[in-house]
Amino acid sequence: MTVASERDDLRTYYDRPVLKEPTWRFWIPSYFFVGGAAAGSSLLAAGADAIGDARLGRAARVTALAAIGGGSVALVADLGRPERFHHMLRVFRPSSPMNVGSWLLAAYGPAVGVAALSNLTGRAPVLGRLATWSAAALAPAIATYTGVLVADTAVPAWHEARTVMPALFAAGAAASAGGIAAAVVPDSAPARRLAVGGVAAETALSSALEKLLPDDVGAAYTDGRAARLRRAAMRLSVAGAALCTGGVGTRGGRARRMRTRLGGVAIVLGAVAERFAVVEAGRASARDPRATIGPQRRGIDGSVTGLAAP
């Protein structure tokens, strides 16, 4: 019978996975995107205030609120027991990025809300400004903790990439927020710059990731659905960046604005695809016993603490 497989001299139990596939549904990668978008937007809002760009400021605040609002819905929707969402704040558990993230969101969400409402209604301007700045202060954490969250799992494609993962998510946040802002306020140079910069960083980090991972783990990114999503993400982002940068220098013109808006949308879609690609890669590597056993086996054979040696 098909005795435990010994294909490519790596031994497994009938080729069955060692790990469980993450149970997260599409809500989670969606949240990764909107969470990043919200964080980036909060920073844009603060920046806009700093240089006194009211249009960008308002757009960014509204974006942040919408994004984080939608994000919260996504988070609750993915729970097996949504009615128990509040259990997330039942304890304080620093060893759990998700718990830490929940506390962060508990502070960040209201700040974003107050900032946006005060801006739209013109009421309580001082409070609004305070809220805007605190949201901005929390934004970097919001943008990156999700990277920590996925890295802090047994999933090889995520855990082995832990040094890059937060940066990748930060870059994604910049690209997403920039992209949205560029689409809404095409005239805003900072928005365009943030979008393009985000794309540049994301692209660089994404290829760094491939180099960083051993083949049996990296395969999760370079084969299958994840690979297709990443190619799409890459094309969209680069195209979007090109469209956004294309018009720099030339004056006015609806066509140029149109290009920028288009570019912004492309970049946003690219950022979305990238998040789904990362989650998909995680799933694939959890399914593949080689991704789990390979690195561990090399570690043992390389070291003396081989607990498996008779």
């Binding site: 844009l44 128990r84 304890v91 040094t163 140079a189 498996a308």
Partner: protein
């Protein structure tokens, strides 16, 4: 609730004594009211369970091997059987990452999911380096072996250990079990069973040793176990540092984006 903190208890599963009867799987389900896990013919030797999951807290693995050094008077066959279970790690990833406190460490130093707390976020599922814990369909919550926490409160041994006909599954204070296990390995080596080795009995391993450890006759991966599992949170601090750096970089990036003016 027992007040005085009792000694850490655990499972020592001696696979050399296992006859693959699966009494552990059934006794566990009968006591804990765990539903059946599907009637699929997997044909993995006599294993039709496949793996540990939300609905399988004990899983007996069957491995058929053709032994190379077979002579005419030796069948040249080896049929390994091993009852797998949650490891109740010293450093338990599922517990570390659980955001609700549903998973906690008991006074017996075991790792238990509280069904009345779990909200089914699924983080523990991705975090477990052994693929033990799972999310139950149509229920949404995460489930795994509790080492019969309720029975322990009554001074009873876990259902699987009690049922095991050949004492392949042994329950007791972890220190005693480890001593017994080491003697057993020595004994087996003397008898010429050179392939006998312990798995997860060592405090220095990636999960700080486990509350459930095993005597195996081959490499762990042959039984579907990770050869050198590591609790993911071991690298959490460094990951947060990376996050801090990238957060700062993000700030800088945004600042840069604004410095060059609004048009």
């Amino acid at each position: 609730m027992v007040d005085a903190a009792p000694a850490r208890v655990g499972f020592f599963t001696d696979t050399t004594l296992c006859i693959g009867c699966k009494a552990c799987e059934v006794a566990c389900k009968e006591w804990n009211d765990v539903p059946a896990d599907g009637f699929d013919f997997l044909g993995l030797s006599y294993d039709n369970t496949g793996e540990l999951s939300a609905d399988t807290w004990r899983h007996v693995a069957f491995v058929e091997q053709v032994v190379p050094e077979a002579s005419a008077s030796e069948p040249g066959l080896r049929w390994l059987m091993s009852s797998d279970v949650c490891k109740h790690c010293t450093h338990a990833a599922c517990l570390d990452v659980c955001p609700t406190g549903a998973i906690f460490r008991t006074e017996f130093d075991t790792v238990v999911v509280q069904a009345d707390v779990c909200n089914g976020c699924g983080y523990c599922v991705a975090a477990c380096p052994f693929g033990v814990i799972g999310q139950r369909k149509h229920d949404g919550r995460a489930w795994k072996c509790t080492m019969c926490y309720d029975r322990l409160h009554g001074g009873l041994e876990p259902a699987c250990a009690k049922a095991c006909p050949t004492a392949s599954i042994q329950f007791g204070p972890l220190d005693e079990l480890r001593l017994r296990a080491r003697e057993r390995v020595g004994e087996l080596h003397e008898r010429g069973v050179s392939s006998a080795r312990l798995y997860l009995d060592n405090d220095d391993d990636g999960v700080g040793g486990a509350g459930a450890f095993f005597l195996l006759l081959d490499e762990p991966e042959v039984y579907g176990l990770p050869p050198d599992p590591v609790v993911t949170t071991r690298d959490l601090a460094s990951t947060w540092r990376a996050a801090a750096a990238s957060g700062a970089a993000l700030l800088a990036g945004v600042a840069l984006a604004f410095m060059r003016g609004r048009r």
